[in-house]
Symmetry: C2
Subunit: 511 residues, 2 copies
């Protein structure tokens, strides 16, 4: 290195912005290191923690969250953000996204943060009781309080058009209610007649196939094998059981999948695992060199969900996948599946039927459950819908969209935990995930040629490699919408999902 | 609360010392909370972490250690220690022990801390290679460096009589080399003839009994059952497998035991579990209200070890214990044990035989292994023994004490990891544990009457309750030596251990 470069390395005219950048990264990375420590502690809490450890664990988690928040909102970060002059793409991305996170964090008054934390901690118990007793009125005042707090949050962090945008920004940076409204409306317009057409055929798969006897230990072995086959690296991850399945990316070389098994249900132990493995393959595909910085972090919850849905549904329910795996599933459960044909099995795995519960819904009707929630959440945030009127509004929308009347609030507006956790703005990411998954998959099919031939042979490396390169490695270089445009050449659209669903259901239902 | 009390509550004449105390506790507790978070992360590392997670895990552990050290050595703690005026027993204990830990921490120059950390990190790999290749000379320069660093450490933290005292203080606060030398010399004087008398009988138990086939899953079930029976609370703890067994007390309601199993060895999966369960019962017996403060922490490593040895040996190898458990062990391994009598089994479990490896040694000869190491360590610290001369000194002492010549350094002075980790001063705590265990047990037998009758019925609650009250709940209220005096009315002595060993071996060997 020539001598005259030295001032730039050690400070001076060109040096200072670079030093400020490195200090910014170091400080931000500390908060992420604490987050990744919290991820282990949280994973342990949901897998192996003994019951009596719960109280102390809450203190540990609370302390880690407090420390992480202190690190993140340290005024030095604000000062560094004020002086840093990023050079290069990665530096620019990191500064942009650290600024977004920092600004949001410091805009939130700590009293509001505390009140939200205290409220949702109690509200979750109230909600659980209310759902059990089918007693919406007991939850209504809490929902009202939460909506009020979320409106205060939106006001504090600011927004351009809709207060809902401020909530979206936490989960889906850059997304707006207006844009989602447009895409969801188009999706709905095509989805409703498709579902109606399917229902009108009167065709139904055999319902017993997926609810026969599936020994849990064998489900575990088969599910682990399937996750490994699609590319989840078990040298850099695990699969354990829990009550509410999740995937936790702890850091480079360590990602934990969880699932639950039911001895008479194949769903959880199979598509549940493929779903979490999809999340896990995304985490494992992030650039470890950029761990703890935006360039090494997932783009958004919608993109994250697209990866789980892609492997669970686009791949994990398609015919070529099962041409490879069904004989192996039969070998694993010979007595259970010896009278079942491949066609029967695939039809069972792709049953479309309107139902009340979101988490049990099929790939098509699932999105109607989300659109309904999205519309109600927006109305709650604008004040057009009063929390006490939620059950009536829910049931009316449900009738319109799904032609069914929920028999109870427990099977209606009380079914999900999200609102009691203050998670308004979260639901849309599920359907965004379905949309991105279809749009990515359509592009992959164009780029990769006959990818079905791979699946038929149980080969998933080209598919995974394509996702690694196009979707995973970029991290947060692009916001979700821009990532979609770069990968597929098109803005987010409902068309690939509709085309995919039509293409799948046409032969199954003869429409 | 009357108005005139308020100044004392909010500061002022009487208020300030109390506030300083509370702030001191809060600050110290933070470092302990980080330690307890590190305990989960460390436990995970040795049980469930995927192999590729090792690099990131090292960074997480290093960061937690750094944060904890920052919290502990924060100058505010020094200021508070300067002003605090503790009132009451618990306050006095907490201030005394926090002062000890803080003083030691701030006396260590950070350069020395870093150099020790860097050196032992490398030295452990060198040692592992050297042991594998039986190549002491390759380890000698590292041992020399480590001894030099530990002498620097002793100088930095200070000592009254011997530099070894400064090292002891980290593991066994208040203990001195002089006192241990005295007790160990008395122990040795009685132990050598006892072991010689046993050897001269020529009697030996059947050697095959403990090395027959013991299916690992059944060992796990039996071991877990035995740990639960003696009082380890599995609602507040777990038992998992690992490579080098340990017990980790994470905090109130959460203590993790680990073990390893060999399908043809009963030792690990049975007495190994009882040993770790003994540690665990101590952790579970600490006062949760004082978590994170000295009053809620274990007294010393020697006292901790006394609890593992008490349950593993004093209880877990005694005849009444096996009168209860042996029929159950036979039921668990019927094909393996159907031709074995209770007498044969007990004799096997209490075989006394000189051998080369410390961790495989029996209850009696084990202590000679420790005395040998203690003497060598002292000579290393004073400079009387050069690290290069360790093999010759080891072998000479081994011949004198155990009448055997180690066939190699791998089975001699290279067998233990401790020195490569910088753990000089640690070994004596193992034999201190045996001594305290015997002395406590002798007292318990006096206090509790016919405790053997309990054991014969598989009842251990009175034994555990006694330990909870006398040994566990006091935490660090008393240093180990003082605790011993309070519990047994006597200072630490070799006599209870010798009496116990003689009492056990006399009928077995007919001496």
């Amino acid at each position: 290195m020539a001598g005259w470069y030295e001032p730039a390395m050690n400070g001076g005219l060109y040096g200072e912005p670079m030093d400020a950048y490195q200090e910014l990264i170091d400080r931000f990375r500390e908060s992420k290191l604490l987050e990744s420590i919290g991820a282990i502690v949280g994973w342990d809490q949901h897998t192996y923690m003994p019951p009596k450890g719960a109280g102390h664990r809450a203190e540990q988690m609370g302390y880690l969250a407090k420390l992480g928040h202190e690190k993140l909102t340290n005024p030095h970060i604000g000062e560094l953000l004020g002086t840093v002059k990023p050079a290069g793409e990665i530096e620019t991305v990191n500064v942009r996204e650290i600024r977004r996170v920092y600004d949001r964090a410091v805009k939130m008054p700590s009293k509001l943060v505390e009140e939200i934390a205290r409220t949702v901690s109690q509200a979750q118990n109230i909600w659980a009781e209310a759902r059990k007793k089918n007693d919406f009125p007991s939850f209504a005042p809490w929902l009202e309080k939460i909506v009020g707090l979320k409106r205060a949050e939106a006001k504090a962090v600011g927004y351009k058009e809709s207060p809902y945008d401020a909530l979206l920004d936490e989960y889906e940076p850059g997304a707006t209610a207006a844009e989602i409204t447009r895409v969801f409306a188009e999706l709905r317009a095509d989805l409703v007649p498709l579902v109606a057409a399917i229902a009108s055929t009167g065709k139904k798969p055999r319902k017993d196939i997926l609810t026969r006897e599936y020994a849990v230990d064998r489900q575990h072995v088969f599910g682990q094998g399937a996750a490994a086959a699609i590319g989840f690296d078990f040298q850099a991850g695990r699969l354990d059981t829990t009550v509410h399945p999740f995937c936790s990316g702890i850091g480079p070389g360590d990602c934990r999948l969880t699932t639950r098994y039911h001895p008479r249900e194949l769903n959880q132990g199979l598509w549940g695992i493929l779903h979490e493995a999809g999340h896990g393959i995304y985490e494992q595909g992030l650039d470890p060199a950029h761990f703890g910085t935006p360039a090494g972090s997932f783009a958004s919850l919608g993109i994250h969900e697209s990866q789980s849905r892609l492997w669970e549904n686009q791949v994990g329910r398609c015919r070529p996948f099962w041409e490879h795996f069904f004989p192996r599933l039969q070998q694993t459960f010979p007595a259970t599946l010896d009278d079942v044909t491949l066609d029967d099995f695939i039809f069972s795995a792709n049953n479309v039927e309107k139902s009340f519960i979101r988490v049990e819904a099929d790939e098509a009707t699932y999105n109607m459950h989300i659109i309904l929630r999205f519309e109600l959440e927006q109305a709650l945030m604008t004040g057009d819908l009063k929390p006490t009127d939620v059950p009536a509004a829910w049931n009316e929308k449900f009738r319109k969209m799904l032609d069914l009347t929920p028999p109870s609030d427990a099977q209606g507006c009380l079914q999900d935990i999200h609102w009691s956790m203050g998670g308004l703005g979260y639901f849309p990411t599920y359907t965004l995930g379905n949309l991105y998954a279809a749009q990515f998959m359509q592009q992959a099919r164009q780029d990769l040629g006959d990818i079905d031939a791979d699946f038929r042979r149980g080969v998933f490396s080209r598919m995974k490699g394509w996702l690694n390169e196009k979707v995973h490695r970029p991290g947060q270089r692009h916001r979700a919408g821009e990532l979609c445009r770069r990968v597929t050449g098109q803005p987010l659209s409902h068309k690939p999902l509709i085309a995919y669903l039509r293409g799948k259901y046409a032969p199954l239902y003869g429409i």
